[in-house]
């Protein structure tokens, strides 16, 4: 048997993993498409390992995580929809109550430094506690969960393999889930092939890409991540009531800075054509509605993003219907079909 260079890298990578206290070279095990970056970001305290990712994947699909053992992460984050759910507001939680914000797609999460629409969580590890404990989501009691995992036929061994020092703990559970989610990388769309190999986009899609840049879409949805990972007010509302613990304040709910009122995370546009509906409250059903919002319906407020201002100070991005439709043709070329079918991200049902 001869080993390819990648094969050797894998072996070297595995050897590097052996001394547990040396940060492992996640890059060798989990390569990153070159147009996204050189390394897969992960916190020093939680480097990716094969066993950690495998455990995270099993947990992601397992309803054991919920209080009634019927709801898993994948109940709302469905791979066939780029880990979104297609609903405006989910009712898939334990209580069946309508959630207050739209389920986000899980794409290239490793590069974000804030999670939830308002960035209320600083890392993926801490984010897990949100859905895990919320009464209208998985409503899990953490000590009961620890016990259920300890009594389980294969989790005790999987946790020990992934975290030899202490096995089953809630911090290790959230770390494993974070590791798996960091591997959810999408960068194999026709656009990516075009960038990496010089061909892949049709001439119409290229026209659309040109307009995408000319009409300032790319100023916030910066290629090749198609987001700048910031928070902005894209003119959805002109009032920001304080009910539900300042829910409508968006980013300001977290920072308590009035300058952040109405701002939300700029989402990536990768796979955007299959992650409808759109916005933190999923008020738009189609991409046409989204673009028409930017053309005609931007709401004035103190914090609305300056990118939307015309030279005369009025709000709106001018484009014709044809230009809008060409931009949408380009957006569809950001679909990464392999992301939706990659078995490394799928339910490892029957895993022992």
């Amino acid at each position: 048997m001869t080993l390819t260079p990648t094969g050797w890298l894998r072996i070297v990578g595995l050897l590097l993993l052996l001394p547990a206290c040396t940060p492992s070279d996640s890059g060798a095990l989990f390569p990153v498409p070159e147009n996204l970056g050189s390394v897969l970001p992960s916190p020093e305290r939680n480097p990716l390992t094969v066993d950690g990712v495998e455990l995270g994947r099993a947990l992601f699909y397992d309803p054991i995580l919920s209080g009634n053992n019927q709801v898993s992460c994948s109940s709302c984050h469905k791979q066939e929809l780029a880990f979104s759910d297609g609903e405006q507001f989910s009712t898939a939680g334990v209580s069946g109550n309508l959630l207050l914000r739209h389920t986000p797609a899980l794409i290239n999460l490793a590069w974000m430094d804030g999670y939830f629409w308002d960035g209320g969580s600083f890392d993926l590890e801490s984010q897990v506690y949100g859905p895990l404990e919320h009464v209208d989501e998985m409503h899990q009691n953490l000590s009961e969960l620890e016990q259920e995992l300890a009594d389980h036929p294969y989790y005790p061994q999987m946790f020990l393999k992934a975290f030899p020092e202490d096995g089953i703990t809630i911090p290790n559970l959230v770390r494993a889930l974070a590791q798996f989610q960091r591997t959810l990388i999408s960068a194999d769309s026709p656009y990516d092939l075009h960038i990496r190999q010089g061909s892949g986009l049709t001439s119409i899609e290229l026209l659309g890409f040109d307009l995408f840049k000319k009409k300032k879409c790319a100023n916030c949805h910066v290629p090749d991540h198609f987001t700048d990972y910031t928070y902005r007010n894209n003119g959805l509302d002109d009032t920001f009531p304080e009910d539900h613990e300042r829910l409508a304040w968006g980013r300001a709910r977290i920072t308590l800075d009035p300058a952040d009122i109405g701002k939300y995370k700029v989402p990536t546009l990768r796979n955007v054509a299959i992650t409808a509906p759109y916005m933190h409250d999923a008020r738009f059903m189609t991409l046409t509605q989204v673009l028409d919002h930017y053309r005609f319906h931007l709401a004035e407020s103190d914090t609305v993003d300056a990118e939307f201002r015309r030279d005369d100070g009025s709000l709106g991005i001018d484009m014709t219907d044809e230009e809008r439709d060409l931009i949408i043709v380009f957006l569809k070329a950001l679909n990464d079909d392999g992301f939706m079918s990659n078995t490394a991200f799928s339910d490892p049902e029957g895993l022992q």
Partner: protein, 254 residues
């Protein structure tokens, strides 16, 4: 003092030798002793009982149904100004329907005559936002953390207050947190507290819980979540930062 330096150096050496297993090695200074920190909850100088109505100096009638807070980063300082930062000191103090926890026995305290104690209410920024790096008693599963804004609730006070307009006892809740509200309390003692291998130090503080409501308009600010310095949450945080006073000190022969 030389002894303390030797102790530190030997700990460093040990850490170096055992590498990543250092956290499993318990280093105990044979000369060290214990220090017990107790915080008595009082209302107008009388022991606080839950669900009992009290009236503040300003005339507000209130009762508590629960009071919980993180006591963290305890530092003991001796007469010479040398200080001992208690490692991983994060404790959940609480008076709830299920019980009272208002005391902690700190072990491994280097011998000395301590004249000052510093601690914080809440969780410092380095430990407040990553809910998987839990030290001391920090736990993201005890209803003292937020999931929508990853971080700990520094202090949770719940109960009822007399609403003069509605002529009834209404619910109040104060869930205070966010980095701005992390408050540090400095207590200097008139004498000193001896700690060594044969003497356990003891400090009892009073927390005057009526002070929580100073300058607060409960009819408006009866539901506080999160907090910034220039908000009612900030006022209440200033209040709890200044509500501690020394009740008694001592040193007990083992």
């Amino acid at each position: 003092m030389t002894k303390r330096i030797v102790w530190i150096v030997s700990t460093l050496l040990l850490v170096g030798l055992v590498g990543c297993n250092a956290d499993t090695v318990e280093e105990v200074d044979p000369e060290s002793g214990t220090f017990t920190l107790t915080i008595e909850h009082v209302f107008n100088d009388t022991p606080l009982e839950l669900s009992v109505d009290y009236t503040t100096e300003a005339g507000l009638t209130v009762h508590f149904t629960q009071l919980r807070y993180w006591v963290s980063n305890v530092v003991l300082t001796d007469a010479e100004g040398l200080s001992f930062a208690v490692p991983e000191s994060y404790y959940l103090f609480e008076q709830t329907g299920t019980g009272l926890r208002n005391s902690v026995i700190i072990t491994g305290v280097p011998p000395g005559d301590y004249t000052g104690v510093t601690f914080s209410i809440g969780v410092d920024v380095d430990h407040n936002h990553s809910l998987d790096t839990l030290v001391g008693e920090l736990d993201a599963g005890v209803d003292m953390s937020w999931s929508w804004s990853s971080g700990f609730i520094f202090l949770k006070a719940e109960g009822n207050y007399w609403n003069d307009v509605e002529q009834t006892m209404n619910v109040f809740k104060a869930h205070l947190g966010f980095d701005d509200l992390y408050k540090t309390v400095d207590i200097s003692l008139e004498g000193s507290i001896r700690v060594d291998k044969t003497h356990g130090g003891r400090l009892v503080l009073s927390a005057e819980t009526s002070m929580l409501f100073d300058d607060m308009d409960m009819t408006v600010d009866h539901s506080i979540v999160g907090g910034s310095e220039d908000s009612p949450a900030g006022t209440m945080a200033e209040n709890y930062a200044s509500c501690f006073s020394v009740q008694s000190t001592g040193s007990r022969k083992n």
